[in-house]
């Protein structure tokens, strides 16, 4: 009896995450996917077909017959979407790279710091999360605008003669993304570096490596899992980022998050914006799944 009970409970433990994913990921995904196959309508909800159980099975089949991939075809016909995807991926890639450049030395310094102060350093990295993300992005407007803090400081120091135009450019977006996502890059790299056996670097030096060569031949390769995890945690949300380009970017900035928002709110075109979202998901999820699959395979070997 108790055996059966424990078997049941162990199965339950596995089932819970699956149920969670089913309810909060798979079900919404299918709803969005289903909307993306519909047509806009001036109605409530603003698309057809709408299923009603009262119509019976024949009614549902009728509705399914109305589904079409027209919205996806539409996305390929307007260069706007293609450009937005490309520009989002580029901005996200550049931001991820910049974040890595800043985060790696930070994480390395933290891992090298005396064990006693590491918890404090860790706290400092997480500290910005205690303030609302939105407020922090707004704060950047005050810093970057022509009469903002940064320009005032540079003018005061005599570095520049006239205010720099940073706000409402891609530079401001990079600053915003790098600033906002830095902890997501620092933490996995730190955790990879922190658990590394210090005698490995000593062994490399003992065998003839200068500290620099030892870093590139031993420390960096061994921290790669952390680097990859950090890059994913920054790149994926950065591609679909909406708030930062909306607040800090200019009118010429084209990012898919903003395009999606426009389709949804300004144009009230739920089917097209759903299609945009589905494509975005495909662009991100499919390569990541392949990548992770390959990684697990190479580790298991």
């Amino acid at each position: 009896m108790s055996k059966a009970l424990s078997a049941l409970s162990s199965r339950l433990v596995i089932i819970i995450p699956f149920v969670w994913l089913l309810i909060f990921f798979l079900a919404p995904f299918f709803i969005v996917f289903r909307i993306s196959l519909s047509t806009t309508a001036i109605a409530m909800p603003p698309y057809t077909p709408v299923f009603d159980l009262a119509d019976g099975i024949s009614g549902i089949l009728e509705g399914i017959r109305e589904f079409s991939f027209d919205n996806y075809v539409w996305l390929t016909q307007d260069a706007l979407y293609f450009n937005a995807y490309i520009s989002s991926l580029t901005i996200a890639a550049i931001s991820t790279f910049l974040t890595l450049l800043i985060a790696y030395p930070v994480a390395y310094g933290m891992a090298q710091a005396p064990r006693s102060i590491r918890p404090t350093l860790l706290m400092l990295v997480i500290l910005p999360f205690w303030t609302s993300f939105l407020i922090r992005v707004y704060a950047w407007i005050a810093i970057l605008k022509p009469e903002g803090l940064l320009n005032q400081l540079l003018l005061f120091l005599g570095v520049i003669d006239s205010p720099l135009v940073i706000l409402n450019t891609n530079t401001a977006i990079y600053i915003g993304i790098v600033y906002s996502y830095l902890p997501f890059m620092v933490l996995p790299i730190y955790s990879a570096l922190e658990k590394m056996d210090g005698s490995l670097v000593e062994a490399a030096q003992d065998l003839g490596c200068t500290p620099t060569t030892a870093f590139w031949k031993v420390t960096f390769p061994l921290s790669l899992p952390g680097v990859v995890a950090g890059c994913m945690l920054v790149f994926i949300p950065a591609v679909g980022e909406f708030v930062i380009p909306d607040l800090l970017g200019g009118s010429e900035t084209l990012m898919i998050g903003k395009t999606l928002w426009n389709e949804f709110n300004a144009n009230r075109d739920w089917p097209v914006s759903s299609a945009v979202a589905i494509i975005l998901l495909m662009i991100l999820v499919v390569p990541i799944m392949f990548f992770q699959n390959a990684q697990t395979k190479s580790e298991g070997r």
Binding site: S199, Q205, D206, L207, G208, C209, K217, L222
Partner: protein, 380 residues
């Protein structure tokens, strides 16, 4: 002088006053903040020697090794290697290599790449590297495992990869930090002999750090017993065991009984001590203490006989007691004999025959006896 214990081979440059030391610690002190890890220590190690630094954890033995490797610099004093001061030379420019306690194998490289790592750093031509790696793999009998990653190897195999990697560059000195610490007992014993053979074949100088006295005794030509940053005694294993220079060394290496008392008679080559346990103890010594002085005499358990009948000559070094404890270990039996004053004497006897003529039992009245040359007078 009569030799102590067995002689392994006729190799004793330390006894030759004209021999030049290969490694020389000269008044080396190393402090970490307030803590003095190595305290004004001087020590000579000779070429082709298998030298062991033995001591409890925190005695400074690892710091000494790390100073040789270049990971720590002495606070004061100098270290000479092959006639040159190596003070301030970074680890990557020193002609020494180290085998780490954790092995420190690079987890992202195959066995082959691990061994080739140091050679590549030196810019050795590819064909030569391949040759040397093959040679090393053969030496440690890991030819079949060349392509494996460290995590796919057993503990013993990893130990051998670490060894191969550290000798691949043919260093002048090989440093070994607790080289066998992570192996189980049986494997450790086998590997001890492998290491000794390897050292002989390659003609390298080995400096090994260990806390395991048995390991040090088995492998080393000479042992430095360390405590609190100082060397207490440097000598061959036999000398350390049979003629410890201090109570610390006598106590640290093996089991020992220490009798204390006042010297009652002293001649040129022997002295008599009135032991506090109430019997008179005669010791042969080349350097007897004066009459009336306080003396401590160390006796190894295997040099003490325990018999149920009084020994034939009861004239010297015999005392009555009672069996307190018996520990049967297979190859030998350890008896704890309680003397009339309550002192417990440890004595071990080889179980040379399967059946004993004179079996001893708990609480039995026995005679404890030992020869006049069995005891060592402790000076420190």
């Amino acid at each position: 002088m009569k030799s102590l214990g067995s002689i392994r081979r006729s190799f004793a440059p330390w006894a030759d006053p004209t021999a030049k030391p290969y490694i020389s610690f000269q008044n080396v002190t190393k402090r970490f903040g307030d803590f003095t890890a190595v305290d004004n220590l001087s020590l000579d190690i000779y070429q082709r020697e298998f030298f062991a630094l033995l001591g409890a954890s925190g005695c400074g033995k690892s710091t000494l090794l790390r100073m040789l490797a270049g990971f720590e610099d002495p606070t004061s004093g100098d270290i000479i290697l092959d006639g040159q001061s190596i003070k301030g030379i970074p680890p990557y420019r020193r002609p020494v290599n180290m085998m780490f306690q954790s092995y420190a194998l690079f987890p992202h490289m195959s066995v082959e790449k691990n061994i080739a790592f140091g050679l590549k750093q030196d810019g050795m031509p590819k064909t030569e590297i391949a040759e040397r790696v093959a040679q090393m793999l053969k030496l440690v009998k890991l030819e079949k495992f060349a392509a494996r990653k460290p995590h796919q190897l057993s503990g013993g195999q990893r130990q051998r990869v670490a060894l191969a990697r550290s000798i691949a560059k043919r260093p002048k000195v090989l440093l070994l930090d607790e080289p066998l610490g992570a192996l189980d007992k049986k494997l450790r014993e086998e590997t001890q002999f492998e290491l000794m053979d390897l050292q002989q074949d390659l003609g390298l100088t080995f400096v090994v750090v260990t806390h395991d006295q048995e390991e040090a005794m088995t492998m080393a030509d000479r042992i430095a017993v360390m405590s609190a940053g100082k060397v207490i005694q440097v000598a061959t294993p036999a000398e350390i065991y049979e003629a410890p220079n201090s109570r610390f060394v006598a106590d640290f290496i093996g089991d020992v009984n220490i009798f204390e008392g006042k010297v009652t008679a002293s001649s040129g080559a022997a002295m008599t001590v009135a032991a506090s346990s109430g019997f008179s103890l005669e010791v042969e010594t080349s350097d007897p203490l004066a009459s009336g002085a306080d003396a401590a005499v160390a006796l190894r358990p295997e040099k003490i006989r325990v018999t149920s009948q009084p020994p034939a000559s009861t004239a010297i070094n015999t005392v009555e007691g009672e069996i307190w404890d018996i520990a049967y270990l297979g190859d030998m039996t350890v008896f704890h004999v309680r003397l009339p004053d309550g002192k417990v004497v440890k004595a071990s006897m080889l179980n040379a025959a399967r059946e004993m003529d004179d079996p001893l039992a708990y609480d039995q009245k026995v005679w404890v006896s030992f020869a006049a040359n069995a005891g060592v007078v402790l000076k420190g």
